[in-house]
Symmetry: C2
Subunit: 204 residues, 2 copies
């Protein structure tokens, strides 16, 4: 039987990333410390430094994992047997799921703190935004082709608007308690891109 590969994430490493991720998404990269993570895991900060030499490396690992997970979710949506509007709603629901946990999008939070980030983290944040815009562009193009979505201008431009609007909706919604504020904005945004279904029935 094959033994564990050295590249496999140890339980502690994953637990550190989980705790740090939540802290960054709720308090920001400049709003948490190694001590916060260590306290949550009931280990010492010295143990943290064993897994991540410095906060910059921890930050790099956080974005890398987050972007990979988000990419998988996007692949899952792309593989859905559904028309583009349903996929766009599923994309919006990714953000909604994050907000439900009272979190900001990791890279949206880091975008706010952009000027204070190490250079490697900056590049990764931009990469995440680009990744989202490219995926959305393809979805929008497909929706236009199948006549289920409509928008003026280029697909990349429309994609940037959607990403910006959803990130902004999360940003301004978190100071208010629930998700109603976000859903109001997001649902309205998505409707603006959706053409009424032709064959079955009119929009209710």
């Amino acid at each position: 039987m094959p033994s564990r590969r050295q590249s496999q994430a140890s339980g502690t490493r994953t637990a550190i990333l989980d705790a740090a991720e939540r802290l960054v998404q709720t308090r920001g990269f400049n709003g948490f410390s190694y001590a916060d993570v260590a306290a949550e895991l009931k280990i010492t900060t010295a143990a943290l430094h064993y897994h991540f030499p410095g906060k910059a490396e921890l930050g790099d690992a956080l974005i890398e994992r987050y972007a990979a997970r988000f990419g998988e979710a996007l692949e899952g949506i792309a593989a859905m047997d559904a028309f583009a509007p349903a996929k766009l709603r599923a994309y919006k629901d990714l953000y909604l799921g994050v907000l439900r946990e009272h979190r900001m999008c990791l890279c949206g939070m880091l975008a706010a703190e952009y000027q204070t980030l190490p250079d490697t983290m900056r590049k990764s944040v931009v990469g995440f935004l680009d990744q989202n815009c490219e995926w959305l562009s393809a979805l929008l193009e497909a929706g236009r082709s199948e006549r289920s979505l409509h928008f003026d201008g280029t697909a990349p431009a429309a994609a940037r608007m959607i990403v910006g609007a959803l990130e902004g909706a999360m940003l301004v919604s978190r100071p208010y308690a629930g998700t109603e504020h976000f859903e109001l904005i997001a649902n309205r945004l998505i409707e603006d891109f959706t053409l009424p279904a032709r064959p079955a029935r009119a929009r209710r």
Copy 2:
């Protein structure tokens, strides 16, 4: 001749607020220190504490001044001899002006850091967002009445979408160099609300 009132802002106090404001808008409330402000003004941190006993009080003063200044700008726009679409563009340009200085909206930045803020600052951030939404609601209603703007649903809901989208556009635009990213999103957003002028000429 009347001597200076005690309530008048001293030059130092204003200089502190100016420096701190820029620091918060570029680096976040958790991304700057008294030492940063003191260094910029070439005074000591002890002098800062004379004007603002603690960082929380400084933060309160920052939001208060920012909201007041923003409110004045809104009054100025409301008083314009123009139709609602021009006023909506002027509103958008308020955000654009901030972004041109490579800054995030003060309260947008603070919204990201919301969970780490003192309670008085939290309340003020929400107040700022509400102030904007209420002003925009009135503008949207007026535009609908004069048939120069159109939107589905209620004016407050549409206003929240605009505020969220503009804050989000700033957020995701700052990692990219110029203002093109923002303008693409914001102009598109505003066009979606604007009805083509009836009498004179079609949109160019």
